[in-house]
Symmetry: C3
Subunit: 364 residues, 3 copies
């Protein structure tokens, strides 16, 4: 336990762990205080996500490169997955989809853009390995196609037959997971020489011993799951009380909360002129959510959801993911970055956030 | 005739020529056995397309570079043109449009993607002249714009006036053919130095004597035309009997059949590390269909079709062509290729095929 | 006054100044002769725009680089702004929007394409600094996103609440102006070393003395304003009488008139193998209209328009701006140009013009 306590002492982000017991206590006392529970659960998830991320890396560091890369790749977005699972079990498919789409957009635009901006304010010009960025952008493009095509091609029918949509959702989910697997084989195995400097991404900090890492992994996942339940329960009510639209909360707030730990790593990398690290975390995480977390959720909806969930999103979300993918391809195209490139990506994100914030709630 | 017989002996693909008499015999006996006639005509078209392709190259090789390039460019998709003409005369405009759109998408994604994949499984990294790929991608982009704009701009009117659509279709057809001609002038005449290694594309095999080539060209074209009539007659019935949607048959099956000969050349080029050849065939053929075959069909519909045919496609087809164009631009952007790039293009194609296969037939 | 008279003697474009008094006289005599007034006002605006452009540069040359660049950037599209203001005051919001959208599209496709074509007919291959082109393309992309998102995200509601649209329009206008300002800081201040050869863009001609330049600036702006009023008054009637659709007039004719002076500079640069100049004028002007003129018009509509004007365009215009942005990114991507690249951009523009020309007028 010593390395864990030491970590907590040195990392102010982890002091927020005090909100974990607080949110459970508050939930026992006043289950109806939506805004309070929402705020407390947000504050509790952030440090748990940071612990989860550190534990995953420690396990990955122990197991050698190939297995470690795989582990990192599958557990890297555990927080987002656990939050989405809580919403899935509650049958809140709109929230599930908004949080998945929001995580893709937030990682691609906000995390990448803020990294470029923060790095660019310190360094005149930064360089990074664009091969990795191209791979992730290619995977994101594939996921976007999978989201666009069912609506575009089935369009003529106006109301697509549910059977068609379900079969297609399962088929596309499997296809996206295959694509993600092939991407891992390509970048970790057959062509790993091309992905040079992104290796040992977050290797700065000393890894924990394996036993501590595994215990943390399991224990913290359980805690995230419990806090997520309170979060999902309170989010709708809190949105109403705070005067925010549900779309804004699901798309922006949840995504920023779920990605807080990764953002801390990505921004730190940019300030240390290790932009490969930042680009790898931001786009790698977005691709993982689009090609791994989302398909897993679709397939799991058959097991734990009240009804099967389709892969279809509302058109606005598809357009935002499409624009994010194009922006990612555009800003990483030259392999060089300056502050304005980051500002551009952040401005695109601001347009999304502004529109969702002002969007009138749908009439019932 | 000797080179022709020698060719047939050495090329197993040509042994399928036995199906040419078979399909005529079967059509005489049982004109209602749709699936049988469909299968036989598919098997008969493949070797005829290969002969046609070889004859065209032989004529082109005899006539010097500029005329030869022009000939290759105008006759290269003769199979697709003859099949589409048969459907045009029968007034099956949906089949015409699906096969044209499907040929563009199949050449861009399947032929290019499979070339990259097959080449990449043998070579760690392959290079090609990206100038040629950029020209073809630019032409494809222009064709996509010509397909998108009439719908997008005329949208406000809900039901566009037929006169407007017809005038615009003729105007756009002429414009696309002009663009195609300018592209030939650019690549064969004013800037041929930039298109270096794609010259003498399929020059591996010894060309036939001119007289044999010309006789083959005429004779095989007539045979393709006759088989195509049976193919067009049987395709709808066969689709029903096989449980495939008409969209899937027109878009995927017909396109794979029509392009079989070119695919054989493109894949052989990739396995010999001559990726310029593969990219040239795949994208050159797609651009030719979009900017030459499709406009010719629109203009010919005034002469031989029951009513004029417009250039408008159903929205799903436009989206698929758009995505194919973007994918082509993306995967050829760096001028280098590895197996995963090919896999990515094939996965996009699989998404299209899967969606079209599962698409419920429109209610009448 | 001497430099002004000398300029007029040497520049045949300025001989058109004779139409300035002519249009005022004609307006006094026959306010109903729409086509005559339309033609005269077009002929009068062209030389006034050229004078305005020269005066702006002369003032900019006097004030040092940073302020000069700013001045050039804010006054460079003064003609378009004054014409649009006249239409805004008259409450002709459709004309305002068509002329703004048309100016973006015309500068991006026609001015850039014709520059590449004219330069390419003289030089086999031309090079230019693509950093500047990328910045402008990035800004245009941001403006396109701002136009697409409100419609795409608010779509589900069918008829968006006016309050939402107005708030969003103001918010997006401010955001676009901030982005434009950041772009100026980036290119004129923090990273001006990267934008090398585009400096002193139109420095060929000797600048005028400051006093003459300022007097010309004020006097000609007043004249443009007066002529624009007649132009806006007559344009609808003239379109009817000439058998042109209002969309074609607003989008194509007004844009070509408003940009005539800049086109003369851009084309001259291309013929002198100074393509940086041409690209800078064409894309810089398009970005300025999208991120500065359009937002100013939206904000000014609160002060001088009969009702607030939103930033939303009809879907066809958004699609055309989107395609123009993609085309600009594509043709400037390699930093090299040949005649065919220009032809391609012009063909895209021709597709737009042809569609708008043939478009049937909306039934009332």
């Amino acid at each position: 336990m010593y390395p864990l306590l030491k970590e907590i002492r040195h990392n102010p982000l982890l002091w927020l762990l005090v909100f974990v017991p607080a949110v459970f206590a508050a939930h026992q006392l006043t289950a109806e205080a939506h805004t309070l529970l929402f705020t407390l659960s947000v504050l509790a998830i952030v440090p748990l996500a940071a612990l989860l991320s550190h534990a995953t890396e420690s396990v990955a560091a122990e197991t050698g490169d190939a297995v470690g890369g795989l582990l990192n790749a599958t557990l890297g977005n555990l927080t987002e997955l656990v939050i989405a699972l809580a919403a899935l079990r509650a049958g809140q498919y709109t929230l599930v989809k908004a949080s998945v789409a929001g995580a893709i957009v937030t990682n691609t635009l906000f995390m990448l853009g803020a990294s470029f901006l923060l790095g660019g304010l310190k360094y005149h010009m930064q360089e990074f390995n664009r091969v990795s960025a191209r791979l992730q952008a290619g995977l994101l493009f594939l996921a976007t196609v999978a989201l666009v095509i069912p609506s575009a091609v089935g369009y003529a029918d106006q109301a697509p037959a549910p059977a068609f949509v379900q079969q297609l959702s399962v088929g596309l989910s499997v296809l996206l997971m295959v694509a993600y697997g092939l991407g891992l084989v390509f970048s970790l195995k057959t062509h790993r020489d091309m992905f040079g400097s992104t290796e040992h991404a977050e290797g700065d900090e000393a890894p924990w011993p394996l036993s501590l890492a595994l215990v943390t992994l399991v224990g913290v996942t359980v805690l995230v799951a419990l806090v997520s339940e309170i979060f999902v329960e309170s989010v709708q009510g809190a949105a109403l009380e705070l005067g925010m639209t549900p779309a804004f909360v699901g798309f922006i707030v949840v995504a920023l909360v779920g990605g807080a730990a990764e953002m801390a790593s990505a921004f730190a990398g940019a300030r240390k002129n290790r932009l490969d690290l930042s680009v790898g975390i931001a786009l790698g995480s977005a691709a993982q959510i689009a090609l791994f977390v989302a398909p897993v959720l679709v397939l799991l909806s058959y097991a734990i959801g009240p009804t099967p969930m389709s892969i279809q999103l509302w058109p606005g979300a598809v357009v935002m993911i499409l624009i994010s993918t194009i922006t990612a391809a555009m800003v990483t195209n030259s392999g060089r970055s300056a502050w304005f490139i980051g500002a551009l990506a952040l401005l695109v994100y601001t347009i999304f956030a502004m529109t969702l914030y002002l969007l009138p709630p749908r009439s019932p």
